[in-house]
Symmetry: C2
Subunit: 444 residues, 2 copies
């Protein structure tokens, strides 16, 4: 079971902090469990691992089997919370090289998460000669990036399979009842899955939003949900035995004492996009009202040879959280080399996990000595069940953290600013006045 180790972080705090935070954490936990706090319309994820829709879950499994049978590729169209969770889980459990590997499951391509013409064209070329399906994920159906990409790939599918054939290959994850994508899906007969009203994008990976692409990649989504439910049980404890209480409390206290940047580190490179998911989760939940820890991430040991210098000796405003997975089963062993020119024969015969573990401990002690508090999050293994635990743990601790900070952990008012400007500059009907103001600011 996932656990948090604070023994290399607590020494940075001169005063006891748990008692001071207990009443606030109790309140925050109550708000998460039963509402009453800010953003209470968006706490549907809290009991999701227990209450999720079994009928829809079975449909997700059936759809994933159908896609695995009739498609060599799945094009997943979505941005933000409709993108990062699925990509994170697939890369973490099935590898960042998933699409390159020999396998019986389809390739999975993520698009509609930006406006690069080259990126769009490339995915179109990659699926050109393949049988493929599309999973378009958008609550409203009108978000610019996924909507534009969906226009392309829908047209490609219709050209390839005709309108009816295309409709059978399009899976829409969208609002239960309303919106442009839901209307289109009903009119065209796409199979639809639900983005629940009470689960915001960044908390949605364990809904159909994340589960369908993850299942297509051959990952055991039952184990993922099972791990999440185990952690839901742990997180229901209203005391410091709860790992989410431990994590939320220490980062709150370290932030108060000037630790302004949190680095999420992992010693498995396949974790890169889980860290991106985490950055959205925490950055978007806490970064408001001119407050919040700035979330960043590093890929160790690689980045010990890039960001390592800064971490060791730069401004002392860092806090580091390290996700440690138990060793994988298939361990490579350091080969013996007669000449021993590199001087590594003292390691010959050792599994790489032994080296990686010593690197973790060596880094821990070095960074702590350099003035960087280290929080360790231990997960049993890099498998679906442990990752389900980790996801729920981070979500629950994030809800607590936002409430401790005094903000609404479930809104994102700042995200509208660029969209509004973009619409105005694109000439969207109704934005004419703003467009003129912005062009003036740009000196046009």
């Amino acid at each position: 079971m996932l656990s948090v180790d604070l023994s290399h972080a607590i020494p940075f705090l001169s005063l006891p902090y748990e008692e001071a935070l207990r009443p606030r954490l109790s309140k925050a936990a109550q708000w998460l469990d039963a509402g009453g706090g800010k953003g209470a319309d968006f706490i549907g994820w809290v009991h999701l691992p227990r209450d999720y829709d079994r009928e829809e879950f079975a449909r997700i499994e059936r759809a994933s089997q159908r896609i695995r049978q009739d498609s060599q590729a799945l094009v997943v169209i979505g941005i933000g919370g409709s993108y990062l969770g699925a990509r994170g889980v697939i890369e973490c459990l099935a590898s960042p090289n998933y699409n390159l590997k020999k396998k019986t499951t389809p390739n999975v391509y993520f698009i509609g998460n930006g406006l690069s013409s080259d990126a769009l064209r490339e995915v179109a070329e990659l699926v050109e000669d393949a049988d493929f399906s599309v999973n378009v994920i958008s609550k409203s159906g009108t978000t610019t990036e996924p909507a534009v990409a969906f226009r392309f790939f829908r047209a490609l599918l219709e050209k390839k399979y005709g309108p009816d054939g295309a409709a059978r290959r399009i899976y829409a994850t969208t609002d239960r009842a309303r919106g442009a994508l839901k209307s289109l899906s009903d009119a065209q007969g796409y199979e639809t899955f639900v983005v629940p009203d009470d689960v915001g994008g960044r908390y949605s990976v364990l809904t159909a939003v994340g589960l369908l692409p993850i299942a297509v990649a051959g990952i055991d989504i039952r184990a993922l949900m099972c791990g999440a439910e185990e952690m839901m049980q742990c997180c229901s404890a209203r005391d410091f035995s709860n790992p989410a209480w431990q994590y939320a409390a220490i980062r709150s206290e370290l932030y108060r004492q000037g630790k302004k940047i949190e680095l999420l580190a992992c010693f498995e490179p396949s974790f890169r996009f889980m860290a991106e998911w985490w950055k959205q989760l925490y950055g978007e939940s806490e970064g408001k009202e001119n407050r919040g820890i700035f979330p960043a991430s590093v890929d160790f040991t690689a980045d010990l040879h890039s960001m390592g210098q800064y971490i060791q000796q730069g401004e002392r405003t860092l806090l580091e959280t390290v996700v440690r997975f138990g060793p994988s089963e298939h361990q490579m062993v350091v080969p013996f080399d007669e000449s021993d020119g590199d001087g590594l024969n003292f390691l010959a015969g050792k599994p790489l996990s032994f080296l990686n573990d010593q690197a973790m401990d060596g880094t821990l002690l070095a960074h702590v000595e350099g003035g960087v508090p280290n929080v360790i999050i231990r997960a049993d293994a890099r498998d679906a069940r442990s990752l389900g635990q980790l996801i729920y743990f981070f979500e629950y601790a994030c809800g607590l953290s936002g409430y401790l900070l005094g903000v609404n952990p479930f809104d994102q008012p700042g995200v509208e600013a660029y969209k509004k400007n973009m619409f105005a500059l694109l000439g969207k009907p109704g934005y004419e006045e703003l467009g003129e103001q912005l062009r003036a600011r740009l000196g046009r």
Copy 2:
């Protein structure tokens, strides 16, 4: 030609700063050009685009042709500066999906940049059925991560092609005369290329370190060097017409006024690993003596839906630098959709570059309004020549920045800390005493 636009950053500075910084920049430029400053043994990169070894360059081109003829894959073994530059350039110019694309050039796999057993095994599996070559990049040949990976892949090659066949497929980029890898290469007859003594790892992408893998991927390394030389000319100006002076000065001044984090942003997802390269360059050069801007990066528009909230409304300690490339030649156009459910028909027929440009401007104005100064770096196109300019520009501005900050921009004393600890915990002969101390600190 690359240019810097400070018009959305200067308004954040209440006082003129150029005159104040001019004498220091003059001194820093003199140190870079002729030595005399800290770390002066490592300024070989400054005149490299003019003075590089033409004979070796021709050998790199020939080696890359040989690899392209006899190999379906190149395994590149290196960490830090022996990894990020080549990966950055290849992903930026040939795509993050380079290995998935149909092409006439070999796949390129990067390994030896960590200690994950799964990552190592995976690359071994990916090249199992392919003819492949190895480029091992290490000044000393004893850095743990690449040395361990090289033991594996050397053994794989020898098993596949015999000792002599393997030796013809191993290319070592290492010290000119000394070190474990140089000795082994001479003994075994590997072709070798040089990591110059006066060029540190993070400034080495335009030496054989970066050039060989980049050339194997089919990228025009002459155009890359040509762009770098053009920028070298620009950067020799000792006044504020020099884009590197502009960039170094404004970030120095913004840092002085409390902007502690610099976000490097790009609206092309293929730029992700160029940003990683940039993070090493700046983080490792400036992050010392408890000082330095913390470098972070974002991939827009994707990350406007994750880090966008923090950027717009989190702590106001951010500075944003946006790399803008001119539009690519092959533009996808937004398709017309009769039903117009998503309401995007007002964009039908527009190239995606138009949308992306308006997203850039809309984001710029939103972030500036939110209190985030924006520096724009304009590059003509996402091609080898422009990227050569950009690389040299960032390097030269980084040298200036380090000197303005008062640190040695060319050392990395903090990187040793984790290595020493790791050796001790691994039981390396000679580290016994430290090992005991560390185990005690770990409570073992």
